[in-house]
Every structure is written in structure tokens, then in C-alpha cells.
Symmetry: C2
Subunit: 462 residues, 2 copies
């Protein structure tokens, strides 16, 4: 039967399996969920075995385990390594969810008239990862396998994949492949397929500003002693000038300017600014002068304060001049900025900003390199052809705003390119409350993926 | 017997009674402690009756009750109204206390070689308030009463005394007095008595900045959508210029410049900048250009961010572009700034600072007017004479940095001046962890207060 028939016949089961996976609160950032991480790994192991892999191993790491499985049809065939992650973002703030983050429910929305599954991880990344398991099940059942397939499903993507690099280095032979396939990105729309041809990098730091050695009474000391919150605000404010450019010394040195032609091509992608603002409830967008909204969110580097706290933040008023103020700051990077270099530049710049009246500590978190996938390569071409078959139009190549730090690692350690076949939508609210994934999108992914393998094999042997 | 003999003979009891009061966690800001508020009021009622008042009433209000007591010796005598508060600041952050905030313990320190009582409220205001109850007990026992005494002890000073004004307006006749006496301020040192001749006012607001209508993924949207934390930082940073002056339009219009002569007199107070910095663990002080450290903390208005929060502030990294950012901001005011006017000016200025990409809401909290006590008035003179008797030197008149908002109310509603006889030290860490009050200071207050009544009566009848 065709893959569409397969989906139609088994659609309830296909949805119920995904929902069972979504019920497991596999939050990697919080050690309280350690047991659930194992449960999710075990679930995947069982499903992969049922789908027909030769073997599955739950590989322990210093953190959460990596689920590794393979189906080798023929050593002479090309090998595709499917990467996904079974861990999810923390669900907070929970009070903003309309249904439980780990109680998946299908509801219809404007952009998902056929319904969407609402749960933390529905889109990022369980729904998109599980499409691959079901596509594999189909190909095995209908004997439509064209490539060897290896699955590498980790549990720490949301916390920076600290153990993935070491795992890949220790298992280079086992993981040998011709291409890595990932579904953890989005498309422009259900009528406007697009593929991510580039990812931004990430630099993430935590800063701590200390003034006096204890909290002080703001009457007794206010005006005479530097307030670390006021100072931190000044330091953060100075990081961006009036043109929206980041002032960290050397920040833009390695940025590859995008050609006028490519910018023109990107500008052809459908984008409705009024709708964009209306959906976000904002009166105005804001960013680097000289670039459009879509460009600011994809081809330009950025700086965002992800969290800030200090002083008294409870109920009512407290007149304290606090000892400390903190912030979590991250920067999205573009080719050819280097995450390590940018982090070092930021640290140096920020520490130098501090007046003598305070002390500053900058602590780096995990980062990731920016990535570019050549649109003329067979990896991209095979995928584009698959989308064209199931959507009726070629996907527009777009550079994404987000980061998947391990993609740069793949090329470095395994020597293969990555192709990103995403089926989510930007409005699926990943990392936010009420995250969801369209039923249409889930099934479209299962339908599209088998064509990728077919075309990749054909193009490789051509 | 003399008051010193009284103190010596009963010193253990005098300390134990205060410690019993300190054990009651009478935190007014937190409704969880409502029962303890009543316990503290009941405790005071009993002690006042035992000391010899004619009557005590625990007067209900819309919030915590006011303890009102009186001892009328002779209607023709002057009447002193003693004000104090039995509520205390919240104890957090609790982890920074070396002993329990409500488990009073006496420990010696460099500045308190005779020991200090460590507990929340030891200095602000239970220790200083209770000195008055014990001084009264002494004067009654030894028949050394010179004035009628009325006690008005409230339970909401730390939350802005919202019900005190109404209480005073409803009880104007009952509260009729010639002077109000308060002990809720500090002296320069145990060898350097000083008296507060002025208080700063207070304006307190909470601000909320909203960007997008939900938390966003900072990769998908970062760089294209205004981040309310970044915006809030810019807005706060702009509130003070490089000279340390506040930029709110109209802010300084009503400030009475302090004369060169008065500044010279203030500069005579002993102040060791190196010691000040060393005790606070800072390498540099910081404030308005053209003013000394002590001036910045007393005769100049200020702006401090007391709390700030927004985005992800938990463990690890989360790449969120948050929907909202918040801050609690307060300003200390000097004569003749008006709290209501400054709050209105701030609100107008801050709202106008907001770019079109965010929405700002400014919510005022309680405030208070600045105050000046004439040093040539008999209130001040009687108190200064009392200090001279027990310390061996006249107290230096100093303007305090902190606010006691209801002092301005007293003059307005009761038509009498307030004299502030403080016995705490700036290093007693009020509003901070490990708050304490010297045993020397507690006993010195009890010793000094009876002389005030004697001199006030004499000066009034002269």
C-alpha cells in the first residue's frame, strides 16, 4: 500500500503512540525527572524493535542515555543516520497552559484546522522525531527500504547535548553514515513548504554583578552605594546601540555578509508583517537597522537577555539595595562566527564594562556553531524533491533563527552533511506554553520521509 | 534608685522580655503571619499594663491592630505621644542568617563588645520601641514621671502604615499631645551620639514591561522582536545620567538646596570612608557628582531598583525571549519634594520612555513625605540635653537617609512636632539578614529617655 494508505488505515494508532510518548515528562534540565528520562528511552527502544530494527541499545552516558538502533539492509547501500531528541524543555510557566503540558490533547486552531496535538515536546522534538520511527515502520512493512538506517536519539538536546560529542567520538565507526537526517525545525506554512538551509549558532552566558557584601537598607545607603541592579541595567543597555547593533568589541568581525542576490531570494518567501505583529500582540517590530524582520531573525547575529533577577521580587514593597543582580544572556550567531570566540569576546567586554564599585563574574554555558547546508548538494536536493512530491511545490530554502548546536559537531566528527526536514510551524509555540504540532504535519512528515530515502539512494548512485 | 541602678538590677529580665517579643514572627507584609501579629499586640498590652498605664486598647483597623495606651498623671502637664511599630520586615533571604531570624541570641561583635541581640526586628523596631515601655516602667516605679504619656504602637509600618492616618483622623482628640517621640533611627556610634533632624521621603512604584503576548523561542524570534528585558534595562539605565543625576523630568524642581553652612556642619560628623567601604566589601562608593558619601545618603534624592525579574531565572539555560519584565523602583526624596508629585512625574516620564514595541504599566505603591525637625525647637533641645547627660557629649544633628512616612502625617493631623531619639547603629543591618541591636544601646535608651521627659517639661514651662 502507499504511505498515504498506511497512514489513513492506522491513524488512530499512530496518534495514540505519539501521545503515549508525550505523556512521559522527559525534562532533561531538571534532575527531578531522571526516572522519566529512562522511561522515554525505554519506550523508544520498544517501538523501534517493533518497527523492525536489527538491534537497539540504550547507551549510558555521564548524563541521560542515548538510544541507538540500526537496520542494515546491505552494506553497499547508502546509510542515513537519523538524529532526534526525546528530552523536552521545562514546561513552566505552567499556569499559562490551557491543558496539562504532559496531558496531550488534540484541538483545532486557525493554522491547524485538522487539529493539533497540544503537549510539551509535541513539535520539539517528540512529534517530529517519531515521524521517523513510523516512516521506518512503513518502509519495512511495505519493503520500501532504500538505505540503511541508523537511529541516534539523545536525551540532552535542551541542555546543550554535553555528552553527544564524546559519544560520537567514541563510536565513530559504529555511526559511520553518508548523511544525517533531522526533523527539529519548521516550515513557513502547511501550504508553503520550506527547508532550513542554515542555522544560527549560540553563545550563552550567565552574569553576576555584586555590589555591597550584603543586602542594604535603601534609605541608609541609597544614593551613596552602587546598586548592582542599576549597574547591571546600564551594562546590558550598553550592549546594543541605537541602530540595534551589538557593541561587544569584535562581535561582527567574522560575520559573512549575505549577498544581495541571496537576500533578494529570501525576500520572496511569503511574509505578512501585519499578521506577524498581530499574532504576537505587538505594535511594532524592532531590530538591527538596515535589515528586514525575517533577515533579523535569520541572517543576523543577536543578543537577548533570557532571564534577569535581583533584589526583592516577592509580594509588595521592600526597600532593599541588594547585594547581587544576575542575568542569563545569549547571542545567536551566523556564519562564520565562532561560539567559543564570541563567548570570550563577550566576557572580556562585559567585565571591562563594570565600574570599580561592583564585581562581575561571567560564566559560560553551552554554545553551538552556526551551520550552512549547501542547497546544491544531493542531501538537500533529495529532500527538496521529497517535499515537492507530497506538497506539490518545491520547498523554499530558508535560514533558521534557532540553533541546533550538534549539527556543526556532526560534520566535524562524522564527516557528513546534515539535512533538516522540518514539518513544524513557527506558531507551534516551542519553548512556550501551549506547544503543539499539527496532525496534518505529523502525517505529512511520515508521508514525505520515505521519498527522501528513495531519492537520496538514486542521486548517490547516479 | 537611679535609672542606671534599675537597669543593672533587672538587666536579665529586661533582656528576656525583649527576646520574648522578638520570638514572635510579626511580619506585616505576609498574610501567613496574621496570628503572630495579634500575639505581638497582646504581648505589648500585657507589658504596658504591668508597667502601669491607666488603660490599653488593641484597636482594630482594616489591617493589623494599633495598640493604644495612656497614663495621664495631670491634665495640666505636657503630653508626650510615643510612637513605635511592632511589625517587622520579612526575614528573607533566610539562608544568609547565621542564627534564626526569630530565635534571638546575644553575640558580641566589634562594634558591640558588650553583645548585641540578633533577630529580625531587634533594632527596627522592637528593641527601640520596647526601651520606651521599660523607661516608662522605671519612671512609674520611682515616681519620676514628668509628663503624661500616650503610647501608639502600630503593626503596619513596614507596609506603609495604610491605616494609621485614618486612625489618627478618627481619634484626633484622644491622641492630642505636645510632641511625638519615636525611636526608629540610628546614631553615628556608641561613642558618637547623633540625632536625626530630618528624614527623606519615599516614592515607590512597580513597573511591568510587556513585549510579545507569550514567551517566545529566542532563536525563532530573537533579533526581530523587542525583548522586554533588554528594553527595561535601557529604560532603567536612562533614569540616571553619567553624573549620577536622575533624569526624570521635573525631578529636582522642588528640592531645597542645603546651605553651605549646614553642609560644613554636617561634614564635621566623624566618617571614615575607608572603613565604610571595607565594611561593605566594595572598592568604590558611587553617587551624584558634587556631593560627599554622607550627603548622597541624606540630603540628596535618589533612585534605586529594589527588585527586577523577567524571563527564565531557574537552574541552567533556557533560550526564551520572554513576554514580560518587571521591576520595583523607589526614590528617596528630600524637602520639599512631594511623594505624590514625584510618583506622578516618574510615571509620566517612564511611560514616555517606552518604545512602540512594548507596553508599560506603572503601579504606585505607598510613599511618604520628607521631614525636617527644627534643631532650635524645645523638642529637639530637650532630647539633645538628655543625650548629653548620658553620653557625656551633645548629639550631632544629622539628616537620615531613610524614611518614616508617617512622621509627616503626625504634624499634619496632630499638629505637633516629632523628635527622633534613635539608639541603633547603621551597621545593625536593619532590613538585612543578621539584624541586631546592641545590649549597650538598648540599656542606653532606657537610661536616656527619662531625662527627655524631665527636660521637655522644664522647657515647656519655662
Amino acid at each position: 500500500m502507499s504511505v498515504k494508505q498506511f497512514i489513513e488505515k492506522d491513524k488512530d494508532r499512530l496518534l495514540e503512540e505519539l501521545m503515549a510518548l508525550l505523556r512521559i515528562p522527559s525534562v532533561s534540565a531538571d534532575s527531578a525527572y531522571k526516572k522519566d528520562m529512562l522511561s522515554a528511552a525505554e519506550f523508544l527502544k520498544i517501538k523501534l524493535l517493533e518497527a523492525g530494527v536489527d538491534s537497539v541499545e540504550i547507551c549510558p552516558t555521564a548524563g541521560h542515555p542515548i538510544v541507538y538502533a540500526e537496520k542494515i539492509m546491505d552494506p553497499s547501500w547508502p546509510t542515513v543516520l537519523v538524529y532526534g531528541h526525546y528530552d523536552v524543555q521545562p514546561p513552566d510557566p505552567i499556569e499559562l497552559w490551557e491543558s496539562g503540558p504532559f496531558e496531550p490533547i488534540i484541538k483545532t486552531t486557525d493554522r491547524h484546522p485538522e487539529g493539533a496535538i497540544f503537549a510539551r515536546g509535541a513539535c520539539d522534538d517528540k512529534g517530529q522525531m517519531y515521524m521517523h520511527v513510523k516512516a521506518f515502520e512503513y518502509m519495512m512493512r511495505e519493503q520500501k527500504m532504500y538505505c540503511n538506517i541508523k537511529f541516534m536519539l539523545e536525551g540532552e538536546e535542551e541542555v546543550g547535548s554535553p555528552n553527544l560529542g564524546p559519544f560520537m567520538r567514541e563510536n565513530q565507526e559504529r555511526l559511520a553514515c553518508d548523511v544525517i537526517l533531522i526533523s527539529d525545525t519548521s516550515m513557513l506554512g502547511n501550504e508553503s513548504p520550506s527547508m532550513t538551509s542554515g542555522l544560527r549558532g549560540l553563545s550563552y552566558v550567565e552574569v553576576e554583578v555584586t555590589g555591597p557584601n550584603r543586602d542594604l537598607h535603601s534609605g541608609t545607603y541609597g544614593g551613596a552605594v552602587a546598586n548592582p541592579i542599576n549597574i547591571l541595567a546600564k551594562m546590558i543597555a550598553s550592549l546594543q546601540d541605537e541602530e540595534g547593533r551589538i557593541t561587544v568589541e569584535g562581535f561582527y568581525d567574522d560575520v559573512l555578509e549575505v549577498s544581495a542576490e541571496e537576500r533578494e531570494a529570501m525576500a520572496k518567501a511569503p511574509f505578512d508583517l501585519a499578521d506577524y505583529k498581530a499574532k504576537l500582540g505587538i505594535d511594532d517590530v524592532s531590530g538591527e537597522a538596515g535589515f528586514s524582520t525575517m533577515e533579523r531573525a535569520s541572517i543576523r547575529p543577536t543578543l537577548d537577555v533570557n532571564g534577569i533577577w535581583g533584589g526583592y521580587i516577592g509580594e509588595g514593597a521592600k526597600t532593599v539595595l541588594p547585594s547581587k543582580a544576575y542575568a542569563k544572556i545569549s547571542m545567536r550567531l551566523v556564519p562564520n562566527q565562532s561560539s567559543e570566540q564570541i563567548t570570550a569576546l563577550f566576557k572580556k567586554h562585559f567585565e571591562a564594562l563594570a565600574p570599580a564599585s561592583v564585581k562581575v563574574v561571567v560564566t559560560p554555558h553551552h554554545g553551538g556553531e552556526p551551520v550552512l547546508t549547501p542547497t546544491d548538494g544531493i542531501e538537500f536536493q533529495a529532500a527538496a524533491k521529497a517535499y515537492e512530491q507530497t506538497f506539490g511545490k518545491r520547498p523554499i530554502p530558508l535560514r533558521a533563527g534557532g540553533s541546533i548546536p550538534i549539527v556543526a559537531l556532526f560534520e566535524e566528527i562524522l564527516g557528513a552533511k546534515t539535512v533538516m526536514m522540518g514539518f513544524g510551524l513557527d506558531t507551534d509555540a516551542i519553548h512556550s506554553p501551549n506547544e503543539h504540532f499539527g496532525v496534518f504535519n505529523y502525517f505529512k512528515g511520515i508521508e514525505t520521509l520515505p521519498y527522501f530515502y528513495e531519492h537520496f539512494r538514486a542521486m548517490k548512485e547516479a
